[in-house]
Symmetry: C2
Subunit: 366 residues, 2 copies
């Protein structure tokens, strides 16, 4: 797999023979594949293993550690007078879509013979990095805000990883980066790390294959650090350039009221209300904010905000329909309903809705 | 799909146009497909949807409700000097392999226009029936022993099902059957219901397809009511009769010390020790005991017993290797290790090990 790293701000390029999570100028990096050298034969892919690694021509890492990530179900449901395609990402090995990004990241880290990694996360990404590292024999330190859900913290500890509790999400991020600078551990934080998006983009490949090599017209996506939205954008763009699909879906970002930097950048105003339930959506300053805005604008998309009331109502709905998802995932469904109300989605459209994280991590004794 | 119900004891046959969970003589029923009328084209199957329903020619129900069951990863690992094929059944929609049996059952119940179901379970089967019923718009009453894990009981309630707590597993079974006799609700208990095995057998189809239409030489399977062992047996037998695989794997049952009726029937003695950790394995009088023994004998298999110490040790091992599984699932791994020690499995053999249930349901605050 031929690729290079490109700085999003200054355009400098790097050859990927050591671990870098951002450019020396301080900006995020993106990975650029040489698509001219890639040939995809869909009937050959159909014969391959049942995992996201069946698209290996488009993944810039060799499979070193896999826990069965990807290849999740896509269910059709008629909700809110729309045809929804629900991608059940909560059925990934550690219970969230993050496993896609982590699998590529830890595979790359392992290829580079790095012995330890540092990650900061409100929960799911931390759990994912903890388990993939452990499975690969790599040490992991996971920095979390002290008020992360107790079940998520317990899970991180069960993997054998070191848990570092910090006063807030922002503090966890700062300390993780600072500590990585004075240690041999590589900082793999999903907010920066460009390999993470190379994993999440495989969701687009699967959706296209599941629909018979077709793209849905719209994708409604919860956004915190933006790795899922950017992954879907990059994945569908690559398929479009390879002429495997005929469009890139319109991207509608969903954020939680009270912490909605994407909404502010697009609409020029703060969001109203609060969304304490969607703990996975709390990222105040996503490093890839500009990249997210660009992807939304290029697809003529938008951003909407949901609050705790929306999430509460849709959570009961999701469980009754058989989907055991966490509140952050429900934000996507709440976003779809709101987008219909606000006229952002016409009735009859085909809408992709990733359900990102498992509700099993939240179940406590009645 | 042409099939009939056959009584395991008296051999009477029934046409399946109403719901029956056992024969009027009191014995369990099995489903007999007319395999002469079935043609399987593996290249046609390869083009189908990513779910267990791609084997629809061999499933005696039309898909009415699906939550994305089946099509789980199969990972190769070299543990205990063996080549293990780990089938990650804990990544099913409600977190266990039971979803396969439930999907077929609730689809059939729905076809027959039955409005309510009753199930008894120590947890996972109850969760599964609760969510599939809710998704299909069917009412569900789930009978559980009072000491079932609190997280499992909370999950059942979140689906909207009615939870009936009983003094023991045996009492839950008796009350569920009794209550179903005086109500319009159909008793779908997985210990009896023959459609359940028609779902679990799809695991064999998937394993065979994942291995390139080949069967492993051995399967090590946790046994409580026996639906998984019987499903694997039936599934591989059907493939063998259709000439899609060249053997049926040797079946090694794993039971928990202190409640091991299969072990007693095969070895003529009670097991020693206790296994409180594997709550999913507690079934004292499985209705299909004779059928289980027959399947084990016909494949020259055996039964081994594991205790809490074995499960405790292997649980830490499983988590460090990245598998977030419940103690009952770990019993399978503990069983493999013990079978090697006891000389039941030769080094170098290919062994199928289903990892049956998710550990996320057990995580509590640290």
């Amino acid at each position: 797999m031929r690729y290079r790293l490109v700085c999003l701000k200054c355009g400098s390029t790097l050859v990927p023979n050591t671990w870098v999570y951002r450019h020396s100028c301080g900006s995020p990096l993106r990975i650029e594949l040489n698509l001219n050298s890639v040939e995809i034969d869909v009937s050959e892919i159909r014969r391959r293993e049942w995992s996201m690694w069946r698209y290996r021509e488009l993944i810039p890492a060799r499979k070193v550690v896999s826990l069965g990530e990807g290849f999740t179900p896509l269910l059709e449901r008629d909700f809110f007078a729309l045809r929804l395609y629900l991608k059940l990402e909560y059925l990934n090995p550690t219970g969230s879509f993050k496993d896609r990004g982590t699998a590529v990241t830890i595979s790359k880290v392992s290829e580079l013979k790095i012995r330890g990694v540092i990650e900061d996360s409100s929960g799911n990404a931390g759990i994912s990095v903890a388990y993939y590292s452990s499975a690969a024999g790599i040490k992991a330190k996971i920095y979390v805000p002290r008020d992360a859900p107790p079940g998520k913290k317990a899970l991180i500890l069960s993997s054998g990883a070191t848990l570092v509790e910090c006063s807030s999400r922002t503090e966890a991020h700062k300390r993780a980066i600072k500590d990585s600078e004075s240690s041999e551990y590589a900082y793999v934080g999903h907010l920066w790390n460009p390999y993470f998006i190379e994993g999440t983009k495989t969701m687009a490949f699967e959706v296209a294959e599941q629909l018979g090599w077709r793209a849905p017209s719209i994708a409604v996506v919860p956004v915190a650090s933006g790795t899922l939205l950017l992954g879907l954008y990059k994945g569908f763009r690559e398929l479009y350039e390879l002429k495997l699909v005929d469009k890139v879906p319109k991207l509608i970002a969903v954020q939680g009221a009270g912490c909605a930097p994407v909404y502010k950048a697009i609409h020029g105003e703060e969001s109203c209300g609060s969304s304490a339930l969607a703990d996975g959506l709390r990222v105040e300053n996503p490093p890839r904010l500009e990249e997210i805005i660009r992807a939304i604008r290029e697809t003529r998309g938008d951003c909407i905000v949901v609050d705790d009331y929306d999430i509460h109502v849709l959570s009961a709905f999701a469980f009754k329909k058989g989907f055991i998802v966490e509140p952050t995932s429900v934000a996507a469904l709440a976003g779809v309903r709101k987008a219909v109300e606000e006229g952002l989605i016409d009735k009859g459209e085909e809408v992709l809705v990733p359900l990102t994280g498992s509700g099993l991590k939240y179940i406590t004794a009645a």
